[in-house]
């Protein structure tokens, strides 16, 4: 770090990403609250542990190979080989993947990406509660968190990714690269896993399975909103000079950029985050007739829909796009539920998958002809590229691998818990021990009182 300005910029950037990571931790806290509250009392401790263990499993696998994939795969396999030069500094045995006084960025940048990985896995986790085996889910968590979302990030969320260059793909705050892929992945697992016992009546009409704690569930979504601020900030490069970008930008004005190194500002995304949240909440309140679960989820879906273009949108556009996405996701959720008997316990496919998908498509029209990158030779943003991107995210990297892996697990009999356990509850044995211990303590206390 030669020179005061360089040192200050480096330490500021290091601290900036570190703060985003702390904020994003709240997303996981929110997902845990949300998921546990949505489950019935007979399952809630297992539901909590299923989500909690995403943290270590995705973290270690993202250290082992996820981070390497991001740097190796921008062109692989369609437009070139693995980028071994860029990825060599990001292997688990690289000396920059540890305490190194010459590198202040890799750790915090790695962690910012990692927290996205947890989010991707958590999105899938909520939809499959109360009947998936934890061991089966954790394989999916690793696949979505440390493999498939990272591939899509390398392709479409990297300044040199082939989807950005060839398709003009633009997804600044991850409508597709996190949300559409995770929603598609959840749908792939759900299609094979099947609904919870009792979810559909004899005529195939869905029954509501009420959450055991509705208000805590909504607080969980509040917590996710809070963490989402960190997510947005983490998607930016906080400050960089045109000289470092080394693209088409002329002059010497430093700027914040999105992940593609195209200029934006924290101020812009603050406007748009809040306006798309508001558009989503308002539309969801109307379309769900004031249902608390869907209204809170609609706020999230509003942000997710507008996220692809929230680096450039006007706040009015962000609000209206957020509202449109929510109506689309809400209607599609209920149609798919009835038509295909899909039991998505927390509406994750709709809130993340459908909203993310439609958000990408809308951004292709609204941002048509805008530069996708500061570098020469890149396709500009366009509807076809965005639609193709949405299909790749939701279908090719989301639904398809999830469906295949879940089919394999199902054929081996290791996907779903036994029927008797599902009926009695995953926490049945724990509850028996709890009741036994409680009875023993009460008996001991009564004996003491009688003395």
């Amino acid at each position: 770090m030669d020179g005061n300005l360089n040192a200050l910029t480096t330490i500021f950037t290091e601290f900036y990403y570190w703060v985003t990571v702390v904020f994003m931790f709240l997303i996981h806290v929110g997902f845990c609250l949300y998921e546990v509250s949505a489950s019935r009392r007979k399952n809630h401790m297992h539901t909590l542990m299923k989500n909690l263990m995403i943290i270590p499993l995705v973290t270690v696998t993202f250290f082992f190979f996820g981070w390497w994939i991001y740097w190796a795969f921008p062109d692989f396999p369609f437009f070139g080989g693995l980028n071994l030069a860029a990825s060599s500094a990001n292997t688990p045995w690289s000396d920059t993947m540890g305490t190194n006084l010459n590198d202040h960025i890799t750790g915090v940048f790695w962690a910012a990406f990692l927290l996205f990985s947890w989010t991707a896995a958590s999105i899938v986790s909520g939809s499959v509660i109360e009947r998936i085996r934890s061991s089966a889910f954790w394989i999916h968590a690793i696949l979505i968190g440390s493999v498939f979302w990272v591939i899509d990030a390398a392709w479409g969320w990297h300044y040199a990714g082939w989807m950005v260059r060839e398709l003009g793909y633009h997804d600044a705050y991850a409508s597709g690269v996190i949300h559409a892929i995770a929603g598609g992945y959840a749908l792939g697992v759900l299609t094979v896993l099947g609904p919870r016992i009792g979810k559909f009546d004899e005529n195939g009409a869905p029954r509501d399975i009420p959450p055991h704690n509705p208000w805590l569930l909504t607080i969980g979504i509040f917590m996710i909103y809070t963490g989402f601020w960190g997510f947005y900030a983490a998607c930016n490069v906080p400050i960089i000079s045109p000289e470092i970008i080394d693209g088409q930008i002329i002059g010497t004005t430093w700027t914040a950029t999105n992940i593609y190194l195209s200029p934006t500002s924290l101020s812009a995304i603050t406007f748009n985050f809040l306006m798309s949240l508001s558009g989503g909440l308002m539309a969801a309140y109307i379309v769900s007739k004031g249902d608390a679960f869907w209204t809170f989820s609609g706020g999230l879906a509003g942000i997710i829909t507008a996220s692809a273009g929230n680096d450039l949108y006007h706040p009015m556009q962000a609000m209206l796009i957020g509202a449109i996405g929510v109506v689309f996701a809400y209607k599609l959720h209920h149609w798919v539920e009835r038509k295909f008997k899909i039991d998505d316990a927390v509406g994750a496919v709709a809130v993340h998958g459908y909203s993310g998908f439609i958000g990408l498509v809308i951004s292709g029209f609204v941002l048509w002809g805008s530069p996708s990158s500061p570098f020469e030779g890149y396709q500009t943003i366009n509807p076809i590229g965005q639609l193709a991107g949405a299909i790749i995210m939701f279908g090719l990297l989301g639904f398809l691998p999830a469906y295949i892996v879940a089919r394999i697990q199902s054929s081996l009999g290791v996907l779903r818990i036994p029927k008797s356990v599902e009926l009695s509850g995953l926490d049945f044995l724990d509850d028996e021990l709890y009741q036994k211990s409680r009875a023993e303590i009460i008996a001991a206390e009564e004996k003491e009182l009688d003395r």
Partner: protein, 66 residues
């Protein structure tokens, strides 16, 4: 002798890189890490099978946690 390669900080920091212990053994440490990770899955899968079997045996159709 120092496991991190430095016995004092009387150095120019511009010339200091990695300072974690046992530099040069990163691949071996990664192998230990991967074994720990895969071993965890194996143990968890085994324990979950046992738990589900025991749970199935213990329950009767009428018993659930309310």
């Amino acid at each position: 002798m120092s496991t991190i390669g430095y016995q004092s900080w009387a150095v120019d920091l511009a010339e200091v890189g990695a300072i974690y212990p046992f530099q040069g053994h990163e691949v071996l440490m990664t192998v230990f890490g991967v074994v720990f990770w895969l071993g965890w899955h194996w143990l968890q899968f085994h324990n979950e099978n046992e738990e589900l079997k025991e749970n199935s045996k213990s329950v009767t159709n009428s018993k659930t946690i309310s």
